[in-house]
């Protein structure tokens, strides 16, 4: 199978500051890649480049083996790259259905501008059932859902728009054990479909090793460790992080 996403030698400079310095990654279909690193390691910058939000200063990106220049978020989206941000782009006062279809509404044929709410409701049910998200009603306003349910709706929205490369920014941040389990199950089910791949930006090492197939550790804009999750331990990663800090301090 062709590699779904490949990025080589990505560099990004902000004035004299180098946020990313020669970062490369690849992502295979059906794979979960966990990217770890402290604040300022360059994870968010990498994320913004992969979602087309900003261009890299140098480096190449390939999707399905073809080189692409991601011009905008919409362009990246048209290539199947969807991102679920930590701050959740959900609208609290709208129903689950309307959030799932925000700006992709199903309209009636006549009058042309009229929402087809029954069709959207039905389809919302299908999308949520398909990925196993369980909520009492698709008519509920999302402000009445729990944090985990909201995160699940945000993920469902990305999946519903035919995403093949799903970027999750801190999907388990500020979530209790039960809520986390809900999202972890969801991520595993999406992986099980085999046609999409997921990149997770994470803070928690143990959780990442448990969910991801492969781990990348970033420090100061470079990748300092990459390996299979099954062959990686938390203590090993901690040791690399410590070494990185010592090197940075003595430099």
């Amino acid at each position: 199978m062709t590699t779904l996403l490949r990025a080589t030698d990505i560099t990004r400079q902000f004035g004299s500051v180098t946020a990313l310095d020669g970062v490369s990654l690849h992502l295979e279909p059906g794979e979960i890649l966990g990217i770890l690193g402290d604040n300022g390691a360059g994870k968010s910058t990498l994320m913004k480049i992969l979602t087309g939000y900003q261009p890299p200063s140098s480096g190449q990106i390939w999707i399905d083996g073809a080189e692409v220049a991601l011009r905008s978020v919409d362009h990246a989206r048209s290539l199947g790259i969807e991102c679920v941000y930590q701050d959740l782009a959900l609208v609290n006062g709208l129903s689950v259905t309307h959030n799932l279809f925000l700006n992709r509404e199903i309209l009636r044929g006549f009058p042309p501008f009229m929402l087809d709410n029954p069709a959207m409701r039905r389809r919302a049910r299908e999308i949520l059932d398909d990925i196993g998200v369980n909520i009492p009603s698709v008519d509920l306003e999302v402000e009445r859902l729990s944090g985990g349910q909201r995160q699940a709706i945000a993920v469902a929205r990305a999946v519903g728009s035919a995403a093949r490369i799903l970027l999750l920014d801190e999907p388990l941040a500020a979530m209790g054990a039960r809520e986390s389990a809900l999202i972890i199950d969801l991520i595993q089910r999406l992986k099980g479909r085999g046609d999409m791949a997921i990149i997770m930006i994470m803070h928690n090492y143990a959780q990442t090793l448990e969910i991801a197939d492969r781990i990348m550790l970033m420090q100061h804009g470079t990748v300092t460790y990459e390996g299979r999750a099954a062959e990686t331990s938390v203590s090993e990663l901690m040791e690399i992080v410590r070494r990185g800090y010592r090197a940075a301090r003595s430099a």
Binding site: Y85, D87, A89
Partner: protein
């Protein structure tokens, strides 16, 4: 959930009723009507209902626009002065030789232009709409007084046309009901309404989803101006004379009050057009009822202020009870 536990028997019926957003204000309206009818037999007479309908119509129509703006996180303080200017524009076009219908349409296009300016300054130049429309409020007021030389003119138009536009008994309230129905449909059943709620509920999220939030806001400014201009015109037809001092900030604030009393929060992200109509009815009932009882205008303002506070306090707290939210 606490609402499920509470939802047995009569409490359940009450909770179900209160879950309906407009419920508490409808209740207030019904109680006020019963009170005024008990206090004065003439309250529900057809003569008085006609008077009452005139109290209600103008603020109900303008409220439709203000509610759309409040939902997407904006406000238009200048609406009352578009109300005053538009019939003059119609009058001048008519006096210059244009037939009445094109003159009316021209005035509405001009109103849309004012809304466009309000919207562009707010969205593109990033001036808060409260300030933008405060500026245009004074600009428009000065302009209207200048071009009218501060004196009223005859509205014009044939008697038949004037009757349709507002001069006959229930013409104005019929316009109001029709516009409210259309706007309710726009808010609840169209993409425009959905995107208006999204723009006010989560501006960044809506933009992230690809919604052109600037276009939504500018469109709603234009809509509000057109509705305010149209209201000014039908009021001018009803009265038969066009007054440069008509409308202004009182009608604008009455419309905003109708929206807020009806259940549209100033914070944006949600709202109800039908609630705005009910709010306008309640304000109309209050004004008309107290007028019948011989209470003067000064007292009325005190009662109006109190009513806004009571309605808002009960909306926030009864609404929370109805939704089963403890905190």
């Amino acid at each position: 959930m606490s609402s499920a536990a509470r939802g047995a028997g009569a409490g359940g019926v009450l909770a179900a009723f209160l879950r309906w957003r407009e419920a508490s204000i409808i209740l207030v309206g019904v109680l006020l009507t019963l009170y005024f009818q008990a206090a004065n037999d003439n309250f529900l007479s057809s003569d008085n209902l006609q008077t009452l309908s005139q109290f209600i119509a103008a603020s109900a129509i303008i409220a439709c626009g203000e509610i759309m703006l409040l939902i997407c996180g904006e406000i238009d303080l200048s609406a009352g002065h578009v109300f005053a200017l538009s019939p003059f524009l119609m009058h001048f076009a008519n006096a210059a030789g244009a037939p009445i219908v094109p003159s009316l349409l021209l005035a509405l296009v001009a109103a849309a232009g004012i809304g466009l300016v309000n919207g562009l300054i707010t969205v593109k130049l990033k001036v808060p709409s409260f300030v933008t429309t405060l500026g245009t409020l004074y600009l428009l007021n000065g302009f209207t007084l200048t071009v009218s030389h501060g004196s009223p003119v005859d509205t014009g138009g044939s008697p038949g046309f004037a009757n349709i536009m507002g001069a006959s008994g229930y013409a104005e309230i019929s316009w109001a009901f029709a516009i409210v129905l259309v706007m309710h449909f726009v808010l609840r059943q169209t993409r425009w309404g959905l995107h208006t709620i999204a723009a006010g509920g989560n501006l960044i999220g809506a933009a992230e989803a690809g919604i052109d939030v600037g276009r939504i806001k500018i469109g709603n400014f234009m809509l509000t101006s057109v509705l305010a201009g149209f209201t000014g015109i039908i009021e001018a037809f009803r009265i038969g004379s066009t007054d440069p001092l008509a409308g202004g900030t009182p009608i604008m604030f009455l419309a905003v009050a109708a929206g807020v009393i009806g259940g549209t929060p100033l914070a944006g992200g949600s709202g109800t057009i039908l609630g705005g109509l009910v709010g306008a009815i309640v304000l109309g009932v209050l004004r008309d009822g107290f007028t019948l009882q011989g209470i003067n205008a000064f007292t009325f303002d005190m009662i109006l202020g109190g009513a806004i506070l009571v309605a808002m306090i009960s909306n926030i707290h009864l609404g929370r009870f109805g939704r089963g939210r403890a905190s």
